[in-house]
Symmetry: C2
Subunit: 360 residues, 2 copies
């Protein structure tokens, strides 16, 4: 695995409480609860569903306050959506931003059930001149000396997309506490920071939202002095189910020689996946993988590739391209916050002879 400077104990503390998806969980269309990635800025709040309310206010004609039962009584939709943290891959950048030290596991796909946001927003009747919509959670903390309820904004146009959900179920069960019980916003195609958990307050604004998570956090900046741009949609990426089996530490892969079906997932928040390529020589040459069935609009797509593994050391990798012609770079593009690292992953494998059919 790539080298990086030693992780400090404060970063380790975050790495322990925020959970990565183990790579072998790429085998599931829908990631089981407990394997889906998890990132919590402050503490997981303890929410009493009986006193819980979602308010919709600000620059609207008809402010609302809804109970969980009222939200559940509205039309319901289930959508399979891939979520990824914008900081996925951060710890692989050099130098790295001191924050949640993700390697590559900050991803997962769940079946989210909830009610569409757009009709609720329309019923509130945003006033003329409405620009942004801010979504606040019940999680409260301090970040860079700014005390805040976690809050992230979208443009009114984005917030009015028909596929945004107010989700109260994950994989057919009530939302687990750590994924936002009792309600979270789902913004298909966007990085996780937009999918506000423990959602309790929606504010329509006639000015641009200037909250911390839009103007300070989650911005793409080439250097410290730059204002940068807010992070939005998920960059194209693919990952592979690690072939063979693993050692405990370090986690290196061992595989018996012979035919093996390499497989994995690919996703992009910008456009459907158009192509996945696989290399078994560390990226020197590439061949086209077979794409699995067309997935739901914002869920990852499976892919597979037949490989005849000969004894020796090999480096396998996959590379996805979306219908907008965006493709994964060979090396990450460094930025201040360590975001959007969708560079191709290289997996080293020791292929052993002497088991199964002799190959050489």
């Amino acid at each position: 695995m790539e080298e990086t400077a030693g992780i400090g104990i404060d970063e380790l503390d975050l790495a322990a409480r925020n959970h990565a998806m183990p790579h072998e969980a790429l085998r599931y269309d829908v990631t089981p609860v407990g394997l889906h990635y998890l990132l919590t800025h402050y503490d997981i709040p303890d929410v009493d569903p009986s006193s819980y309310r979602l308010t919709i206010g600000g620059h609207v004609t008809r402010p609302r306050s809804l109970t969980l039962a009222e939200l559940r009584d509205r039309p319901s939709v289930t959508a399979q959506v891939t979520l990824e943290c914008a900081g996925n891959g951060r710890a692989l950048l050099e130098p790295r931003a001191i924050s949640q030290p993700w390697l590559r596991g900050a991803v997962g796909t769940a079946a989210w059930t909830g009610t569409p946001l757009a009709p609720l927003l329309a019923e509130a009747e945003p006033g003329a001149g409405a620009i942004d919509v801010a979504f606040a959670g019940l999680d409260h903390g301090i970040e860079s000396d700014v005390e805040q309820d976690y809050e992230r904004g979208l443009s009114l146009a984005e917030a009015s997309r028909p596929d945004l959900l107010l989700a109260y179920e994950m994989n057919g069960q009530p939302l687990p506490p750590q994924h936002g019980f009792p309600l979270r916003l789902i913004v298909p195609g966007w990085y996780g920071m937009a999918h506000v958990k423990w959602l309790t307050r929606i504010r329509v604004l006639d000015t641009a939202f200037d909250g911390y998570q839009n103007v300070t956090g989650y911005r793409l900046r080439a250097h410290e002095e730059e204002t940068g741009t807010p992070i939005e949609r998920i960059a194209v990426r693919s990952m592979m189910v690690p072939p063979g089996f693993s050692t405990f530490l370090p986690r290196t892969r061992v595989l018996d020689a012979g035919p093996v079906l390499l497989s994995g997932r690919a996703w992009s928040g910008a456009a459907p996946i158009a192509l996945v390529e696989v290399s078994t020589d560390g990226g020197a040459t590439w061949a086209e993988a077979t794409l699995g069935p067309e997935p739901p609009p914002h869920a990852w797509r499976s892919w597979s590739f037949d490989w005849d593994a000969l004894p020796g050391r090999h480096t396998v990798c996959s590379r996805a391209t979306d219908a907008g012609d965006a493709t994964q770079p060979d090396a990450p593009v460094w930025n201040v916050g360590g975001y959007l690292n969708n560079a191709v992953e290289r997996i080293d494998i020791e292929v052993r002879a002497g088991r199964g059919i002799a190959r050489v």
Copy 2:
């Protein structure tokens, strides 16, 4: 938080895929799936329940092979059991063993449903001279150059305890893949390494079990040359729900001055919890906490303590003692593998004036 040398990327890789329980989840009697700690030695296996079998063999008169349906048809019991990793606290030792770098979150309590092991074992009729029972999982990997299915042994006497379970449900749902689907052994009171996941093979032995996880791993050793002793029961420990709210990084606690109910959990694999004490001055003075209701035999016990938090910096801690008179040490006892670190935890808090009732 205590200092430790930088964590390397291989340890970070383990810290990401193995999940700690965030401290605020101490609020739950039963830890929700996805918040319970998780430690996987190799890969999470992909098990087909229709072809799955549990075999009981070795030094027995009547070997058995059971389907999942046959196991589910047997008498069923649900037990609330606290599990903890023997390496919990490892990364706080100096120098630390290079392994899964746990801070303190490697714990959780679940409601496990399954069928008692003892009657099944008796039906197999262990032969005269049977000594140990080895439990093997479907997880396969390499550890210190030893290729193995994860396998851990118990004495026949321990394996015949009436409260050991072959569990197929966790918190009322089928076992999630990461917690051992379709079957795991539950050994109430013992550290996690005994609760073999993806359990598929039980072998009764007329010799002492000499597998890796008993003779090399999970042993308490004061220095490298020592053979040491196998790790068994959970040492007494308590933890506190972190008061107030948190900053993002580092995670420091902020609390508004005023009365606050400190609370947490205490557990021991050796005996019931007899006493929990709390200190709000970093361990200089201690006062007795109020114990919650008597829990099921091997589940953690809640405790609480009224504190009148005055503005300023404070260090709060809790200390548990069990009915066998074992108590948490002030500082950890170093050992080669970094096991059994049940030292008292110190939580630093900044108490702010000026909110709520004025205090000074």
